[in-house]
């Protein structure tokens, strides 16, 4: 089977707006500045188990969006609504006259419904259906957070939810780019959000995946697990022609995106490398052209190792050229939101912010790559963003300042 991507597999889509909410700030400039300054939001968390995590201290959705029903939505949905509102505002699409039929939403949401489903189902068991809040059920299905976001902003072109764990949001960018390329929407908001809840933290802790409160490192020979984080990010995608027609200067372009699968961590390195090569081919970009790689490494030795080996294989002779960063070192593993968060960081560096260092990295487990240990301007070259899920999904994205990356 050939399976070789054609050059047009993912046509260029323009990024015209970004909304971002992290414990380090609520706009891209602030977050980029904090990351470049080496600040980390990862801190000890006492409950439900002692671990390290990057949590919002005082997230208040009403500061960002006034949406009917916000009170009953879960944390992930509220975060997603707020990031979407910020992205649409950044793109100049609030009250801008875009017909609702031309606005779509693609949500990266593997776990966004899960705490509501747990609450609803537990109530069915303990109270019985007749004493359970009936408003919870529609919010307990996996598509609910995305559907609520689309409803909140009258997005009538489409409402799609993808659930590939950590690969979801880069896959979502690829899908969003297709939708605008094919004219199915004039603008698509690709949104991802991740809020923590006890069952999630407990399960990952008991699986031995979380680093101790003082032992979180990425790509380091002492890495021993991940730190969870909370965040929401939204990108507005448009066709370049649509952006130009309304006088918007694109922030960047989705020049390539590819998804692959590996059965188990053994094959992850090969599979991720394939995704990277396919995305670079779509973007007509050579590894030596890259200014930055925003890696999805998260502190789990198996994931970090697969990421590093895949990048070494893809970059080849250019392995020392692009700077390698990993924003999870400062913002934690935000699973569904992680790909968009890394993409936002890449976008900021292409806009002139220094690329952020990998917080805590002192002794790389796998040398050969140009891991950033201090902030560094990397210029406006294209950026490669990588993401994987624990189930085997791999996704790679090439962001570029120009419509044609090279």
């Amino acid at each position: 089977m050939s399976g070789q991507p054609t050059a047009t597999a993912t046509a260029t889509a323009a990024v015209t707006g970004v909304g971002i909410l992290t414990p380090l700030g609520d706009n891209l400039a602030l977050v980029a500045e904090a990351l470049a300054a080496g600040r980390s939001a990862v801190a000890p968390l006492a409950t439900p188990v002692p671990c390290a995590a990057a949590r919002f201290a005082d997230f208040d959705a009403t500061r960002y969006a006034n949406v009917r029903g916000m009170r009953i939505y879960n944390r992930t949905t509220r975060l997603g609504i707020c990031a979407t509102r910020l992205a649409l505002a950044d793109a100049g699409l609030i009250d801008a006259g875009l017909p609702p039929e031309q606005l779509g939403v693609v949500m990266a949401g593997s776990f966004g419904h899960l705490d509501t489903l747990i609450e609803y189902d537990r109530s069915l068991v303990t109270n019985g259906p007749s004493r359970t809040n009936p408003a919870l059920m529609p919010l307990a299905i996996p598509s609910a957070p995305g559907a609520v976001i689309a409803l909140s902003f009258s997005a009538k072109a489409c409402s799609i939810t993808l659930a590939e764990g950590g690969a979801s949001s880069l896959d979502g960018l690829g899908l969003g780019a297709r939708l605008v390329r094919d004219g199915r929407a004039a603008a698509v908001v690709v949104v991802a959000a991740f809020g923590l809840f006890d069952e999630l933290v407990l399960s990952l802790s008991r699986q031995g995946q979380l680093a101790p409160a003082d032992g979180f490192r990425i790509f380091d020979e002492r890495s021993q697990g991940m730190a969870l984080g909370e965040a929401a990010v939204a990108f507005v995608l448009e066709s370049p022609a649509h952006a130009t027609a309304r006088g918007r200067q694109p922030l960047a372009f989705v020049a390539g995106q590819a998804s692959t699968f590996a059965a188990g961590t053994d094959g992850m390195e090969t599979s991720l490398a394939r995704a990277c090569r396919q995305a670079l081919a779509q973007a007509a970009t050579e590894p030596a052209d890259l200014g930055l790689v925003a890696s999805g490494a998260n502190g789990l030795p198996s994931t970090d190792g697969a990421e590093a080996r895949a990048l070494l294989a893809v970059l080849g002779a250019a392995a020392q050229k692009p700077a390698i960063t990993a924003v999870k070192s400062a913002l934690g593993e935000t699973i569904d939101a992680s790909g968009l968060l890394a993409a936002a960081c890449a976008l900021a560096t292409m806009g002139g912010s220094p690329a952020p260092p990998i917080a805590g990295l002192e002794r790389p487990a796998l040398p050969g790559l140009r891991y950033l240990t201090r902030p560094e301007p990397v210029g406006g070259g294209p950026a490669l963003v990588t993401a994987t899920s624990q189930t085997g999904a791999c996704s790679a994205l090439v962001l570029a300042r120009n419509a044609h990356a090279s």
């Binding site: 089977m1 050939s2 399976g3 597999a9 779509g104 949401g109 593997s110 776990f111 899960l114 489903l117 747990i118 609803y120 189902d121 537990r122 069915l124 068991v125 019985g128 259906p129 007749s130 009936p134 059920m137 529609p138 919010l139 299905i141 996996p142 598509s143 609910a144 559907a147 409803l151 009258s154 997005a155 009538k156 072109a157 489409c158 409402s159 799609i160 939810t161 993808l162 590939e164 899908l175 297709r178 939708l179 094919d182 199915r184 006890d198 069952e199 399960s203 990952l204 008991r206 699986q207 031995g208 590819a258 998804s259 692959t260 699968f261 059965a263 188990g264 624990q390 189930t391 085997g392």
Partner: protein
């Protein structure tokens, strides 16, 4: 230049049986498979009615899969349907070295492995936070549905899990269509799977949206939904790839249309405007003439809102011709299988194109006189058919329509 995409295999596990022929004969017979549910229970709901899937022992599945206590039922029936689809396509289920990067999967679901959460809830009442084990998150991760199939078959291309509620089957087919059409993959498996879940039964009962007997789409006495269980998977292949290997081409996927109501969390837009946009987009993006559509496999859930909106949409798009297009819903035969429903609907369209016969709507005795449509009733009807429209809508307002045509 987009490549042409054809269907070369189908696999379905439903209450109508576990073979394609079983499904087709059951659909043509006009009988319903909705009955008393015996292997699944919900608190306070004494007698559940639905179209229950009983997986035969001959399948290579765990012996306990039919029991209420089996938690990974969705994953297993989806894998069984995928294997069945590959066999139907005359393809190896597990080729030496796996399928590799040229083959992938997009699976749709409404609720996924919801029973894993149910299991946790029951343990929580006794053990509290201690009930959360290390494997819980992995078991409740819906991508595991797709990943489980991909790992078993050795797929190396895109493996996506698509959740657009009850339009998931069609949107999964849409993304798979795109992957094949643009050259990302030569072969994609796509479809959907869902099983009975406590959340949906109890939630729909609270909303008085469950039929008190058996759902009767488009009937003047319709009174709600009857759930079903099922998995439906189709093999989509690039036309030249299929021809090169001498595959039997069953139908062509022409394209799709999407929309979102953005109207209400649970209720569809009453005037069917969302459906209209989805159908019009499907026609416009493919260049297909509305006149070619000879059968509509309706979403047809048997609720007042759905039936009215859907019929209004068909009349808006097709004008006077709408009342002459044979239209039916298979949900009164095999229940509303949620995330699998549109995929099984697509299989019904493929079979209709192959056999030049359209299936009836079971239980439709007195069509709502307000509609005045050509609903297929009682038994299958022979027709001359070149293209079908497969409709779907999901909770939250996501609509997706798929256009299928006779094999080229």
């Amino acid at each position: 230049m987009k490549r042409r995409v054809v269907v070369t295999g189908c696999g379905a596990l439903t209450a109508a049986g576990n073979t394609l022929d079983g499904l087709w004969q059951a659909l043509l017979s006009g009988r319903t498979l909705v009955g008393k549910v015996t292997n699944f229970a919900c608190p306070e709901l004494d007698s559940l009615s639905g179209a229950e899937l009983v997986v035969p022992e001959s399948y290579d599945l765990p012996a306990s899969i039919n029991g209420d206590a089996f938690r990974a039922r969705c994953c297993h029936i989806a894998l069984a349907a995928a294997r069945q689809a590959l066999v139907h396509a005359n393809l190896p289920v597990q080729p030496e070295g796996g399928w590799g990067e040229g083959a992938g999967l997009v699976l749709g679901t409404t609720m996924g492995e919801e029973r894993q959460v149910g299991d946790l809830s029951e343990r929580w009442t006794k053990q509290g936070a201690d009930s959360v084990d290390g494997g819980f998150l992995g078991r409740a991760d819906n991508h595991k549905l797709a990943a489980g199939i991909a790992a078993a078959l050795g797929l190396g291309g895109p493996v996506w899990l698509n959740a657009t509620a009850c339009s998931s089957g069609n949107t999964a087919l849409a993304w798979a269509f795109d992957f094949v059409a643009d050259g990302t993959a030569d072969l994609m498996l796509a479809g959907g799977a869902d099983t009975f879940t406590r959340a949906l039964f109890c939630g729909f009962a609270r909303m008085s949206a469950l039929s008190k007997s058996v759902c009767k789409p488009f009937d003047k006495n319709r009174d709600g939904v009857s759930f079903g269980e099922g998995a439906g998977i189709l093999v989509l292949e690039e036309l030249a790839h299929a021809r090169r290997r001498g595959a039997r081409i069953l139908a062509e996927v022409v394209g799709y249309g999407l929309s979102n109501d953005a109207y209400h969390v649970t209720a569809p837009e009453p005037n069917g405007a969302g459906f209209v946009r989805a159908i019009e987009q499907a026609l416009a993006t493919t260049g297909a003439s509305p006149d070619t559509i000879g059968y509509v496999c309706a979403h047809g859930t048997g609720t007042q809102y759905n039936d009215q909106g859907e019929v209004r949409a068909l009349k808006t798009v097709f004008g006077e011709r709408a009342i002459t297009i044979p239209t039916s819903s298979i949900k009164s035969a095999i229940g509303h299988t949620n995330g699998a429903a549109a995929a099984i609907g697509a299989i019904a369209c493929v079979l209709a194109l192959l056999h030049q016969t359209v299936p009836p709507t079971a239980n439709l005795a007195e069509p709502d006189p307000e509609f005045g449509m050509d609903f297929v009733m009682n038994a299958g009807r022979p027709v001359e058919l070149s293209a079908c429209l497969n409709m779907s809508a999901g909770f939250g307002g996501a609509n997706a329509c798929l256009l299928l045509a006779r094999a080229p």
